[in-house]
Symmetry: D4
Subunit: 159 residues, 8 copies
């Protein structure tokens, strides 16, 4: 069965950013399992989700969080699935706090980090598809087409 992508976020407010990951994956024909799971307020929910993730065909997990963004790191500590982190700009520090909290993981537990906010979430979706595309020729084919379309949509002039 085709692999799906788990999309986790620390708060329902993060959906405005994380829907860009879902949209990119939808466009590439990849199913998603979207959850609100807080590393801090509902840690058990995270452990439970990860215990069954592989059995439920989750192949990649994308985690979006703001501030002291621990969600991706804690997820990576509990699974061997590739974990993608999206820092979210939800504090006065413009997402620099979330970026550093996500990307500066100590050696041994990797989190693949993307840019702050909506473009980062979109890229995390595209990257998840690239991982799945390695063993799913349909996804791969759609990615090729996505890239071509994307290039052709860049206008020649700005006016």
């Amino acid at each position: 069965m085709a692999k799906r992508v788990g999309i986790l976020m620390g708060s329902a407010n993060d959906w405005d950013v994380m829907e860009c990951a879902r949209d990119a994956l939808k466009q590439l024909g990849v199913e998603t399992d979207v959850r609100v799971i807080s590393a801090h307020r509902t840690p058990e929910r995270l452990v439970r989700f990860l215990e069954t993730a592989e059995a439920e065909d989750i192949g990649v997990v994308i985690c979006g969080a703001g501030m002291s963004a621990h969600l991706a790191g804690v997820t990576a500590a509990h699974t061997l699935l590739p974990v993608l982190g999206v820092p979210i700009d939800s504090s006065p520090l413009n997402g620099l706090d979330a970026l550093l909290s996500t990307v500066q993981m100590p050696g041994g537990i990797p989190v693949a980090t993307f840019g702050i906010g909506r473009s980062g979430a979109k890229n995390a979706g595209l990257f998840a598809a690239a991982i799945l595309g390695a063993s799913d020729p349909e996804v791969r084919k759609r990615l090729v087409k996505f890239r071509e379309d994307q290039a052709s949509k860049v206008p020649d002039r700005p006016f």
Copy 2:
């Protein structure tokens, strides 16, 4: 029985910083339980430690970690004990990554954060003693004396 302070750190290398917390507490007559527990590499060890912490007379937990410093936040997610975080300067970013990862906790799960490195660790130790001193007159008395000694040691001239 007198309360003790748990001192956790993400790596044995952090002891060079965290011993300042232990030293401050020792000087104030407070016992400590010092552990290396990585939020990422040994998450179960953290949960196990916290499950029995209160029963083993731990009254405050001090967590030191560098980089994407998640240890204090994950600890705070699993206990109601006061959690003190010490950011450690162990990456090229001079501890700014650890500071923001520790202090910018989302609302609902508090971590009391101290300065980066050895002075922060010392202050975390003093603060833990201040918390315990509220119900332990001996500790309180030693804190009063510590402050007086500290003031008297400031020389009048730098030369």
Copy 3:
């Protein structure tokens, strides 16, 4: 008699942030004493407040200030009560100035620092309650319930 929490702020404008500390404490049944005291413009008022604080059952002091936020540090210099600092974002530097002014205390005079702005103020309130809860079982019980309610309020899906 039950301990109360002093909530100090450098300017009446800071109330918009600091009321989150008051609200959290109110929800947990902890009384507060709210004051506007500027470390710079009314330093004597601060000293007077602290001289009688313990006698008036203040068990913890929360200080919120922006810019060169000295209020928490100056407070900590004059009392042995636990001092919690809340950096406030009230300058073009997004609160980074207040964060560093509050958290980077030199060794010897600890200030427990929380995140910038409203979530930091809320967490300072919760942390003050955790300190008082160590010797007040009623507060402790309400904290346990607060945590449970908080977890149960996290929705499963963002949509």
Copy 4:
């Protein structure tokens, strides 16, 4: 045939960092193809490498670069293979320049970014193995063992 990992770096001086990626992959039994390719000084060499990469069983590309680190982004622009970026601290700005140049990719061309320097390079190697492990049970098995060994090597006490 088993997939290999391309490890590119902007300068031979970056090897001191990037060998951590090679070492992690070697330990997990994954072959690597290590190259010095500068996005700026030898751009054609990069295009040539990428044109044949998939045919030569490269499954993931890791790019390490410092300063205005463009290598990972330019690589990602020319391939659909997953591209992992490692910012290298080789300027007075402590790697913040390389981190932002690598992670803040515009939407549409994803680069999975890891921490600055040697721990980031190690994590990029581990992550590449996690991607390959999805379809290579041997790699996956070694990753499981790596994690277990890693946890067991964390000492209980720092002294």
Copy 5:
């Protein structure tokens, strides 16, 4: 024939900033060739443009881009024409990401960088004219007048 200035930008959205470069050059009687070319999404378009640029009388190239701004660096890698970079503020990090991505070029491939946003774009236009003015007395004469007018427009009092 009089030299022209190429003005490239990573996205049509950048025109709001880059038109300041065009306007400055127009005012100084220098023709421009304005293009949307993404270093990441349309890299071949960039190579094609640069292959014929000198033949088509382009004497200077101005590149505006935001986030991981690679456009100027990649352009400089493919041409010996002077390349001017304008960092654009199009992410939560206020253009700091684009500034560092543009200015911190490794030794060997120079990019002349200007300030973030509209004043930087204007200055890039003026600087391009100064380069062309070295061999075009008309442009030079207009630059002299521009400077004089600019000085005379500074009012004596702000009210």
Copy 6:
């Protein structure tokens, strides 16, 4: 004759900030000479102003500028009068550029720097008055009263 304070700013747009310096001085009965002088666009105007400043009873010069704020430094290079610098937040970098450009003067040419924006301008005005007050008892008397009034205006409670 009573000394006056020169208030210079790089652009008429800076008046919104610099009027706070003028207002503070007016309130203290100190006359001001307000000018728009750009260190970059009208450097001769600056030199001319400073040549006659002392003869025209200017005792202190306050300079406000944004971005690469050179006005205060260039002023200090041409006069022995005390020069006060006010960094203005007029770029995407929130005034951090202006702050560092103003405060980080090399040894030998001092600029006394105040905070970013309107509170910095107000404080520069107050500080100029403090300098003049050393030899002008009337100004001094008004400063004493200003401080007392300021303290008395701090309310006891924020609500």
Copy 7:
């Protein structure tokens, strides 16, 4: 009697920086009163010093401190004398913490801030002399000569 300059520092370790202020003043024939006074550890000592400062002919106070540098701000809160602040680089954050803690004073209590470290201390000394020079022609004369000597010592070539 000639006015003197008070030089205060938070710790005897700061003397390595603050002696540059003393040296500059000595060279200009201005007497200094050098003290170690911690805003946090010996706040009463600071109040006592300031109560008699004017009577003891102190005309300017220079305060050097690192980390959460509160010394200058607290001094300014207790005196109407001009207060000059020197941020000291004594934490992993390179003095950025001390700079922001010193310069970002709220409106109403001014601190004149100088650059981080030894050049800032030297400039604070020169600036203090400029203030005193307004009413002390001897100091003024020496300042004129200092500037001339300084200019003449700049070599024409670096080799």
Copy 8:
């Protein structure tokens, strides 16, 4: 006669960085005129140099300075020659102060800024040659060769 490049620096200590600009130009057969000129300590020397610069065949001016790096900006205010700025890392802030002071010029007076330190100085030299190469075929030819040599010196493997 062939154009020369002026290389100015604020202090003789900056030569360690600025010699990279001289070396690059020497290698390309471009003559240089190297001077120590401080924008702050010897402003008249700067004006005098610029008054005769064009008459003495200076075609481009490169300015290196650290801290509040005003040299390039002040130079640009006094000449229409292309001015290239090299920020120098000579303060605790790692050159961020010099970078922002140099690059964030207000609209109207352009400074072309290069990276911090030695690689920036080298690139400024190369860029100056590119400007002169537009009308000097010999310089242009050497630049082409420099680029080819540079590419050929990049090794294939780092070991």
